[in-house]
């Protein structure tokens, strides 16, 4: 963990409620995809935990949904502004378990950390397949960015306005392989039930500190209570007790 002052390079809407913020600053504390940042917003007491969607030499991309006043104010920040961000938080995905044909399953704002994962896996020459689930056509984002990486992309929408109609679990391949999933809890639980093989889930929880001090985001796991922020946010399938 490292506190870094970042400068906003751009901050643009991807859909009605989802924004992409690009920042420049020291990202040396990030070890890989699945880790997150805690963003301090002027006028708000707690920081906002947001996963890294992309990392460059000296740049960070955050994709966030405007769910409340804090993220609403974040969407109005303009290029040039400085933000204090805690970097390199949490444990990311384990790329060593990917196999040759990893499957990435993302829903809504669970899609962003999978973009950085897809990028890293493609760099390793893996045949990445991605299922990206959204409610409706107007909420789709980053489909082209995933394709540009050379990933095989399947989009699902609940209302059928684009791609396969239904949920991400309606578009699962016959041989899923090792999977990485990130999205809303009901989607993750559905994936947990639908995919028989091994994989990893990235969880979301309301956090206090984001670095393991307050015990605000603890869940029960197969190996006892774990803090989503410090021990996660990525957990292996066998760690989660959703089948119990």
């Amino acid at each position: 963990m490292k506190e870094v002052s970042f400068r906003i390079l751009s901050n643009r809407p991807l859909t009605g409620e989802v924004f992409e913020m690009k920042l420049s600053g020291d990202v040396s504390d990030f070890r890989g995809p699945g880790q997150f940042a805690e963003v301090a917003l002027p006028g708000f007491f707690l920081r906002r935990p947001i996963s890294a969607a992309d990392l460059g030499e000296n740049s960070l991309t955050l994709i966030y949904k405007t769910v409340g006043k804090g993220t609403g104010s974040m969407s109005r920040l303009t290029p040039g502004a400085e933000l204090s961000i805690l970097t390199g938080l949490g444990n990311g995905y384990d790329l060593s378990r990917a196999g040759e044909t990893p499957l990435l399953i993302g829903g809504g704002v669970g899609v962003p950390p999978l973009y950085l994962l897809a990028k890293r896996l493609r760099e390793e020459g893996k045949a990445v397949r991605a299922i990206l689930g959204f409610n409706t056509k107007s909420e789709i984002f980053y489909e082209e960015e995933f394709r540009a990486l050379g990933a095989g992309v399947t989009v699902t929408t609940v209302d059928g306005s684009a791609g396969t109609k239904g949920f991400v679990t309606d578009a699962l391949p016959e041989k899923p392989g090792y999977f990485y999933a990130c999205g809303p809890l009901p989607m993750l639980r559905a994936v947990y039930r639908a995919v028989p093989g091994a994989g990893e889930f990235s969880l979301e929880e309301r956090m206090g500190c984001g670095f393991g001090a307050c015990m605000g985001c603890t869940i029960e796991t197969a190996s006892g209570p774990k803090r989503v922020c410090r021990d996660g946010p990525v957990f292996r399938k066998e760690e989660l007790l959703w089948g119990k």
Partner: protein, 305 residues
């Protein structure tokens, strides 16, 4: 440079800054960021006799200038704290630590405190009779003068280290409770624990916190905390440790002027992991600005015209 050291119940603190229980874990995680020996001391995570998972999530909600928490005393239980957490702490901390103790019966408080009292690294026992997030324990002991006195008296008999009783602000007359604890043998008083509050999500029409209510902390509570430190300083002769919304060296000085011997820093640690260290580093400058040569000399100065 002015003198920052203070005497807390017979143990000298190099400076009066103490990260508060529940915001600093068992210290070693912050030791990855800086040398935690630069702090006066810290109060470790509230420990109970048996392991506790705590409350269901969400446990955290934001508020204007602060936050609510309803963690509910998650901790591995006193045996594991002694066997696993304190050895990790010893590797990074050479000072005496404050052991924060909670419970659900007088007997639990007594047993837990007695076990921690035997640990060399423990300098003080901070008796948490003020946690608002558990049922049938914690705060129910600290909101009634007779119950507070009984648990204080019983724990005092079982320990050799100084006993500091941590009080709740969720009472009509905090001075009365403080006096009752002093009469029962407390060596110090710390206050305030969090103020009970809640938030509702209009979208779901349900309380945000899994526990429905939680404890409010952060800058929003600072004036309330300062007022209560002021009242308790006038009510008792034993040292008072002030806390509640302290986020700066200026806040710490206000607490000391109100009568605090030392100052705990809570919620600020959660938004800035360096917050407590920054206060330590900033104190000399702020002391000089206000012409303070020694913090101990200005303790309670606001009470005398």
């Amino acid at each position: 440079m002015g003198k920052m050291s203070v005497d807390l119940c017979g143990i000298e603190l190099e400076n009066p800054v103490i990260p508060a229980s529940g915001t600093f874990g068992f210290g070693y995680e912050f030791a990855e960021l800086y040398d935690i020996n630069r702090l006066g001391t810290f109060s470790f995570k509230g420990t109970t006799l048996y392991p506790r998972f705590g409350n269901p999530t969400p446990r955290i909600a934001e508020t204007p200038a602060g936050m609510l928490n309803a963690v509910g005393l998650q901790n591995p239980g006193v045996e594991k704290v002694i066997a696993e957490e304190l050895p990790k702490l010893r590797r990074v901390f050479s000072k005496k630590v404050m052991a924060n103790v909670s419970g659900f019966s007088e007997e639990e408080y007594e047993k837990t405190a007695a076990l921690l009292d035997k640990e060399e690294i423990v300098g003080w026992i901070e008796l948490n009779v003020s946690c608002p997030n558990v049922h049938g324990g914690g705060m129910s002991f600290g909101t009634d003068p007779d119950r507070a006195a009984r648990v204080t008296e019983r724990v005092k008999r079982a320990v050799k280290k100084p006993l500091i009783v941590k009080l709740s602000p969720n009472v009509t007359d905090v001075a009365e409770i403080a006096r009752a604890c002093e009469a029962a043998g407390a060596d110090g008083i710390s206050l305030i624990n969090t103020l009970m509050g809640m938030r509702i999500d209009p979208g779901t029409r349900r309380p945000i916190l899994g526990n429905v209510t939680g404890g409010l902390s952060g800058p929003a509570v600072f004036p309330v905390a300062l007022r209560m430190v002021w009242q308790v300083y006038e009510a008792v002769k034993i040292p008072v440790v002030g806390m509640g919304g302290v986020t700066s060296a200026e806040d710490a000085i206000e607490m000391i002027l109100a009568g605090a011997t030392a100052v705990e820093v809570g919620a600020a640690n959660l938004t800035d992991p360096m917050a407590s260290l920054k206060i330590v580093e900033d104190l000399p400058r702020v002391m000089e600005k206000y012409g303070i040569d020694s913090l101990a000399d200005v303790k309670g100065a606001a009470h005398h015209g």
